[in-house]
C-alpha cells in the first residue's frame, strides 16, 4: 500500500507537535529542528521512537540523524569542518538530506540546519513506500 507524501507529512507534523511541544503552524517544510523548533539531542531519539510507532517502520540507529562518532572522528573532521571524506560519508548515510548549501561551508556548527521538517518527511516517505 502506498501512502501519499501529503499524508506522510501530516503524520510527521503531528509527531513533531507531540515530541517537541510546538504549535502546528510553526512546523513549516523549511523549519529547522534545532534552530526553529528548539529540539535538543534527546528529542531526536524521541522523534525516532515516535515515527517508528506512527508508521510501523524500523529506523536504524543514526540513519535519520547523523552519528555523533562521525563528528568526533578526526578522519572526517578538520578544524571544526567536515572534510571531503566526512562530507562523502555523511551524504552516504543521509541520502534524504539536501547538502547543497551545507557543502559550501561544512562548518560543524551549521550541522543543525540540515535537519528540516521536509527532510524527515522525505526520509519517512522513502522508508514507508519502499518497504
Amino acid at each position: 500500500m502506498t501512502i501519499s507524501q501529503e499524508e506522510i507529512c501530516t503524520k510527521v507534523r503531528e509527531t513533531l507537535v507531540d515530541a517537541l511541544g510546538v504549535d502546528d503552524d510553526e512546523i513549516t517544510d523549511d523549519a529547522t529542528l534545532m534552530g526553529d523548533l528548539g529540539a535538543e539531542s534527546i528529542d531526536f531519539l524521541d522523534i525516532v521512537f515516535r515515527l517508528e510507532k506512527a508508521f510501523g517502520i524500523k529506523i536504524p540507529r543514526e540513519e535519520l540523524f547523523p552519528p555523533e562518532n562521525l563528528l568526533n572522528d578526526p578522519q572526517y573532521v578538520t578544524n571544526g569542518r567536515l572534510n571531503e571524506s566526512g562530507l562523502e560519508k555523511l551524504k552516504e548515510q543521509m541520502p534524504h538530506v539536501d547538502f547543497t548549501e551545507f557543502a559550501k561551508d561544512p562548518d560543524l556548527n551549521k550541522m543543525p540546519d540540515l535537519f528540516r521538517v521536509k527532510s524527515i518527511c522525505d526520509y519517512v516517505g522513502n522508508k514507508v513506500n519502499a518497504g
Partner: protein, 163 residues
Amino acid sequence: MRWIWIDKFVAFESGRRAVAIKNVSLAEEHLADHFPGFPVMPASLLIEAMAQTSGILVGEARHFQEKVILAKVSRALFHELARPGDQLRLEAVIENLTEEAATISGTIRCENRLIGEISLMFSHIDKSQAGVEFPQENFVFNESFMSLLQFYLKDAQTGVPNP
C-alpha cells in the same frame, strides 16, 4: 531527607511493566507549605514518583548495567489532586527500550480516580553522550533505590499478598 517517593512495588514484570504504591501522608513536611491549610502532593513530586517507578523498571531490564537518567518529561497531564490519605497506584509500561534510551507511559490512580498521565523518556548516559565521561560506578541505583525492588522480590518469594 530521603528522596524516595514510592513506598513499595506491588507488581514487577521485567522489561514490561511495574506498579508501585505511594501513600500520601500529612506527616510529609512539605505538605504543610504546599499549601497552608490545603495540603496537596505537588505535581512535580508525582512526576518524580513516576520517574522512580519507571526508572527502576528500565534499569532492571538491562540488569542495572546502565546509568538511567530522566531525560525528558514528554507529557504530564493531571486530572485530580493527590491529597493526604490517598493511596496512589503508579503504573509504568515500557514503550521503547534501546541501547541508548527508553520511553515509558504511566498512569497514577487513587481507587477509581485517574489522577494523572505521565510519559517519560530516559537516557542511558554512557551510551548516548559520546565523548563525555561519567563516573564508573552506577550512582543512579544506590542502596535505598535497590532496596525497593528487593523488598518486592522478597515479598513475592514468601507469598505476602499484594493489593
